[in-house]
């Protein structure tokens, strides 16, 4: 029989207090704002679910949400397969292992706003190396400050550059945990390299890939700093993702009620999609 030791709660308490101050209380404030209207001076008027309805019906929100899903879908579709391919081609032993690992980790060590600034300067026509090269050497019209497509490509490429490493490192961790005997057995069984990937490598990477996909989903769905410093959401609204739009409403227009409602909807979507991902990816494990 296990004895229940209530003193365990004391260990959890500090975290609980911390979370209460930096997460629970702010979120309750947001909930408070989301159902009321205020004109300052701490005077509030009950508004019910009006803000929620207004946000959900607004074309602006729907457009931003659509852009957000498109962005996340594109970067997941690129980063996950690319990350797996890179992890598969990395050496499993030898002196190149640490070199590869450090190279892979480098982009992730750069602060997000710096990444945005870097890519901004890098891609500006006339100023940046890439911008100059594309426009003046290759003669391709590439200007992410003017052309929505160029802006999108730049934002996506930047995210791929910044975050594919995360998928690579996690997939690699899964790969190196496979004992050599599996590869030997597959060889003896006459398995093709596709079979080795499909029946050995992929199943062994599944857990870490689930984590990688979840992390990449949440991070890309909530992305703010990099596209904000790169394009500021432009040209026009073309790269205004949900978080950028939210900050515009909250701090630009100071519409705190709608902004609060929007952030709660945003939070709910993130939570739901994460749950959906997780459930789908782990459903065979029980069987």
């Amino acid at each position: 029989m296990r004895t229940v030791n209530q003193r365990g709660w004391f260990f959890v308490l500090p975290v609980l207090i911390l979370v209460a101050f930096n997460a629970l209380m702010p979120i309750m404030t947001v909930v408070n704002y989301s159902v009321q209207e205020t004109f300052g001076n701490n005077v509030f008027f009950w508004q019910g679910l009006d803000w929620f309805e207004q946000i959900l019906r607004s074309d602006r929100f729907q457009a931003a949400l659509g852009r957000q899903f498109l962005f996340t879908a594109i970067i997941l579709a690129i980063e996950v397969p690319l990350g797996i391919v890179i992890a598969l081609s990395m050496p499993r032993k030898g002196i190149w292992v640490p070199v590869c690992l450090v190279l892979m980790a480098l982009p992730m060590l750069i602060p997000w706003n710096v990444v945005g600034q870097m890519w901004n300067i890098f891609t500006l026509p006339k100023v940046g190396m890439l911008g100059y090269f594309m426009n003046d050497v290759l003669g391709v019209n590439y200007d992410m400050t003017q052309d929505p497509l160029a802006a999108w490509i730049t934002v996506v490429v930047m995210d791929v550059w910044h975050w594919t490493s995360l998928v690579v490192l996690l997939a690699y961790a899964g790969l190196v945990s496979i004992p050599d005997a599996y590869y030997h057995a597959a060889k003896i069984d006459g398995a093709s390299s596709w079979s080795v990937f499909r029946y050995i490598q992929l199943p062994k990477m599944k857990t870490v890939l689930t984590i990688a996909i979840l992390l990449r989903f949440i991070d890309s769905f909530n992305i703010y700093t990099e596209p904000f410093t790169l394009t500021g959401g432009g040209p026009g609204n073309s790269t205004t993702l949900l978080s950028i739009d939210l900050v515009k409403i909250a701090l630009g227009q100071f519409d705190l009620g709608p902004a609060a409602a929007m952030s709660l909807i945003y939070f709910a979507i993130t939570l739901m999609v994460s749950w959906l991902f997780y459930t789908l990816m782990t459903k065979d494990d029980a069987g």
């Binding site: 005997a181 030997h184 003896i188 006459g190 199943p203």
Partner: protein
């Protein structure tokens, strides 16, 4: 199924081996007949896995040839050698069912569906895994997983050799015995050439018709279990096989006599060669305790179930004797008699007496 010939095989993991110490596998020259059961026995790091990998084709030897029947397979990759291997840790394809696991090697070789179904049914019945054919292989217990990985080897009816690399390591003790007898039974049924690598003498001696004992990359003796027990060619075989192992006692030897702690001891025959260091080797089973012989002091008596193991002190040496009858008390003075035909001299490790016919 095939006869396996290892001809002047040597292997070094260094690109440019200088001396014998650079070889993980020193020269081995042996032929194993078709359908035999063989064991490679030795402690960890003795080169037995290297040898196994050379036979399976995972490793190309630095020197020498590997022949299956009369075909030279030295340079062939594992999938073209038609071999099967069972590893220390069960290798199964987690996402497949047991049935798919067993069918996998045949599927990869393009065997038609009807034949696959037939073979899988046959092997599943042989391994007694029919009820679990449609469960996911990931959910099996280690011993069943090991059976499945064995099954993947046996399912092909054209395998030249089935190799076992310490297959019982992760199996629970009470199932080890069961699986071991299953192996023996399978060998009798399929009559494939089987090679079993282990550091466990019981596994090797019960499984194999012929055992290859290895130490530090060197084959020290090849023989039947009885030969290894009765007449070890090397002190290593003597003390590695047997429980307890052979008594190895420093001595001087000349003619057909040896001197040990001032006592004259009769040997199985005349001593050969000269120089080096000589030791006397006798198994505890052949040391008799009685009224005549070398005087000794009993220092320890252990009851190991079937018999007693007695530690006795002669001069400054301790040796062991095995007795099945009533035994002396600790501290008692006894006399030890060495059975001459089982008493041998080893020079620098290798046997140095000739047996009288």
């Amino acid at each position: 199924m095939a006869r396996i010939t290892l001809s002047k095989l040597r292997h070094s993991y260094y690109p440019d081996p200088k001396g014998p110490d650079d070889y993980a596998l020193k020269e081995i020259d042996v032929t194993w007949r078709n359908g035999g059961a063989y064991a490679l026995l030795g402690p960890s790091g003795c080169g037995k896995s290297t040898l196994l990998n050379i036979i399976s084709g995972l490793l190309t030897p630095s020197e020498g040839r590997v022949l299956f029947d009369d075909n030279d397979v030295t340079d062939l990759p594992p999938d073209r050698r038609n071999i099967a291997q069972v590893f220390q840790f069960p290798v199964i394809y987690d996402t497949m069912t047991v049935r798919q696991n067993l069918a996998f090697p045949l599927k990869n070789r393009g065997v038609d569906e009807a034949r696959i179904a037939e073979r899988v049914a046959e092997i599943a019945e042989m391994l007694e895994v029919v009820p679990m054919l449609d469960t996911k292989a990931a959910n099996l217990s280690p011993d069943n997983k090991q059976k499945i990985s064995m099954g993947r080897g046996l399912v092909r009816d054209d395998v030249n050799v089935v190799m076992f690399d310490e297959p019982l390591t992760v199996i629970d003790p009470h199932l080890k015995w069961k699986l071991r007898s299953k192996l023996k039974e399978l060998h009798q049924r399929v009559r494939a050439t089987m090679i079993y690598v282990t550091h466990d003498q019981t596994e090797a001696l019960t499984f194999a018709d012929e055992v290859v004992v290895m130490q530090e990359g060197e084959v020290v003796q090849i023989g039947t279990p009885v030969e290894l027990f009765e007449r070890p060619q090397h002190t290593f075989v003597g003390h590695f096989i047997g429980s307890p192992g052979m008594n190895i006692l420093p001595c001087e030897a000349a003619g057909d006599r040896a001197r040990f702690q001032g006592h004259e001891i009769a040997l199985e025959g005349p001593v050969t060669g000269s120089g080096g260091t000589t030791v006397l080797g006798i198994r505890p089973e052949y040391v008799g305790i009685g009224d005549t012989g070398i005087p000794a002091q009993v220092t320890k008596v252990s009851d190991v179930g079937r018999h007693y193991v007695i530690d006795a002190q002669v001069g400054d040496m301790t040796l062991k004797a095995v007795s099945e009858e009533a035994v002396p008390e600790k501290g008692a003075s006894v006399h030890l008699a060495f059975r001459p035909e089982q008493t041998r001299v080893y020079r620098d490790g290798w046997i140095a007496t000739e047996a009288r016919r």
